[in-house]
Symmetry: C2
């Protein structure tokens, strides 16, 4: 039998021994995934059978909806007990989503020092360093000897989540260095933490956006990054597993944004959810498509005389759009990775111009040749070559400019860029091609 079936069997038969055997074999995240798919009444049985500590591990790995459903099955004092096994950042994430009154009640039930820390965490925006940090870490004074540090670690160790890196504070409680656990094991017992610490610490501020923090962690190969205030005092830490979540989240936003879907849609979203999330973008797209249509309408006279123009014009617009998406992907990528410096890199625009020119002439000549073979009209071919080159230059430049401009306006470039780009490449593609056709009309008839 598969693990999932065995798990459900243990719940149906209220077989605690079997349930705990399964729990020993699989990870909390796997349990969370199974729980998301089972019925409400089985979830209740599960909650009744679990001890609070293991339940806390499962909750930490669950999606918000599941977290709420689980907690609904418990009294206030049970919830406080479950929370006592969880780390502060996870508790803050859950509490932050609860109705205001319930949140206040829970915080009042907790012990003062913990509720203070959580209220503090709740004060940071969720997509900043402060919003994703945890306040559980090990910080020691720098004048401790290695021997004294080991005694401290043995005392505090079992209660803290992260211990591979120990943060070293000076007398004013400012963060001055880090010591890795392995250095403590290897070092002379009489040396102080000051002696063995790394004093070149990469750190961040609580209001730093999470994508900037993830760039730091990725660039410097960190497993943990400390968050400090402007005076250098340690406020919390962000561990690499949370950074991976941030990177995956930013990835999702970029990818879905470019496809014209808001970031929350998942492949398993409900039908009405998917429709609600897609429709606004389609309506915006309809508006931009009508813009292109308006351009075509104004040339109806020309098209009715040379109807072959109608068959060729979408090619020009399509290639301009494609060229624009190419620039767009490269730039959005660079913006996400922090590789593009907005001040210094305006010169890159001229590069886009030349890319558009060269690819436009190449693709345009190919298209022009095919058109000539088919319609035997050299002027039509020339128009195609010129229009294609113009269209690709425009696409390539605007594919670069739009995300850069949106970013400098504080708008997420992944979300809005493609809409603006399509509008521009459609309108300009149709206009350049039909405009040229109008100029050369006598030679086309």
């Amino acid at each position: 039998m598969e693990t999932k079936d065995l798990f459900i069997k243990s719940l149906l038969e209220k077989d605690k021994k079997l349930l705990y055997e399964i729990l020993d074999e699989i990870y909390p995240i796997d349990i969370a995934i199974i729980l998301e798919e089972i019925e409400e009444d089985l979830l209740l049985v599960f909650c009744q059978m679990m001890d609070k500590k293991r339940l806390a591990e499962v909750i930490e790995q669950s999606e918000l909806t599941l977290q709420k459903s689980i907690l609904e099955h418990f009294s206030m004092s049970d919830i406080i007990e479950i929370f006592s096994y969880m780390s502060n950042d996870d508790i803050a994430d859950i509490i932050g989503e609860l109705p205001f009154q319930l949140r206040k009640d829970i915080l009042r039930y907790m012990n003062k020092s913990e509720s203070n820390e959580i209220e503090h965490l709740l004060g940071y925006a969720p997509d900043t360093a402060g919003g994703i940090m945890t306040t559980e870490y090990l910080a020691l004074k720098g004048d401790l000897t290695v021997q004294e540090a080991i005694v401290k670690i043995k005392q505090i160790g079992p209660r803290t989540e992260v211990l591979d890196v120990i943060f070293v504070l000076d007398k004013a409680k400012r963060l001055v260095g880090t010591v890795e656990l392995r250095d403590i094991l290897i070092a002379d017992e009489r040396s102080t933490l000051y002696d063995i610490m790394n004093d070149n610490v990469i750190s961040t501020y609580p209001d730093e956006p999470q994508d900037i923090v993830s760039q730091l962690v990725s660039k410097y190969d960190l497993t943990v990054i400390p968050v400090i205030n402007r005076r250098g005092a340690l406020l919390g830490i962000i561990t690499v597993d949370d950074i991976i979540d941030v990177i995956v989240e930013e990835h999702t936003e970029d990818l879905l944004g470019l496809g014209g879907v808001s970031k929350e849609e998942r492949v398993h979203s409900t039908l009405s959810d998917s429709v609600k999330k897609r429709l606004p973008w389609l309506i915006v797209n309809l508006a931009t498509a009508f813009l292109g249509s308006l351009v075509i309408s104004s040339f109806e006279e020309i098209i009715s005389q040379v109807v072959v123009l109608a068959a060729i014009m979408p090619i020009i617009a399509a290639l301009g759009g494609n060229s624009g998406s190419q620039s767009l992907s490269v730039v959005i990528r660079a913006l996400t990775l922090g590789e593009l410096d907005l001040k210094e890199d305006w010169t890159l625009i001229s590069k886009q111009l030349f890319i558009g020119l060269i690819t436009g002439l190449s693709v345009g000549s190919t298209a022009g040749l095919i058109i000539f073979l088919r319609y035997k009209n050299i002027y039509l071919s020339l128009i195609v070559i010129l229009a294609m080159t113009g269209s690709l230059i425009i696409g390539s430049i605007f594919g670069f400019l739009i995300p850069v401009i949106l970013k400098s306006l504080g708008i997420d470039p992944a979300l809005a860029s493609s809409i603006f780009l399509t509008a521009i490449t459609d309108v300009s593609g149709f206009f350049v091609f039909l405009g040229l056709a109008k100029l050369f009309m006598p030679f086309l008839l």
Copy 2:
């Protein structure tokens, strides 16, 4: 003065004291970034001034081109010395890119055990677990006591890269568990590693694709994942910083692939590089655009009679394409994250059909209303509504199907999906709209 200017000054003046002061202040990755931008003769000065150990740290953080330029300044014996400070996976990555003869020479110069390990690493495909793993880790026998383990760690520690997790082997040298360094510090000195180890280890095989490995690390919040063979023997480990690189790389492929750019293009690529990488995709796009154009040509008769059709048809095709990209982004996202089970989720197609139907009717009615207000022809509006609905159903379904089919054929869906999708939505959009117009022709004149 900025760090970079100071750094260059220290090279120009051959000021070793200043250079080493700077090196103490910044990280190897920052030096690597500066080196990528300086002139060849300054790079030579840098190589002459650096001690081999610190140079090795910089090389580990450099791009391949820079790595090669640096190593060119050294003799074979110098290179072997530099390599002695580097980890095996980094050495293998560099050597794997060298000409065959040079590679053989370097391997012959190395000591036998190291060259064996590197040749072994060179045997794995670069985008598999084997290709990104390192063979440097700490593995101890499970019957060692904690006290004995600490002695071993103090002996071996300074020479190994990763020490936060220690791998526990049984008598047959199979991987049976892991112990974290913190557990060793806290545990009773007389207990054995078997007593304190976690025996539920997530591991992977060397031929596993790197994106699957990164999903495991991300799902289970690991900082390191062991690579084992089918008999359970430990072959190597992959650390989380390399996993972050994999995630960022896969992100790049998805994003650029959807935009129609091959994965290697960067915002700072040279002009000819960018053109070479974009042109093939544009030519493919030209071919698919001609397909749509062929459809239009076959309806030229109709268009010449009702020229307004030429202005409306791109709207239908554009919305179909947009609807397709929406499905595409959601599905590619799910495939990258491993959220989509190809066997179980074929039922999702019917969901796509309904999404297409509902959004198609909504967007179609809006468009139909606008068309009616403008051209006062109810039949034209009806055609628009029908064609839009058909086009969005087709886009939505194929946006889902294409990546799923490509994936099951072993083709990277991010790279080829949008080309196929555009071809299908263009051709079908034009065909459905103009076909309906032909049917209702008498009412349009």
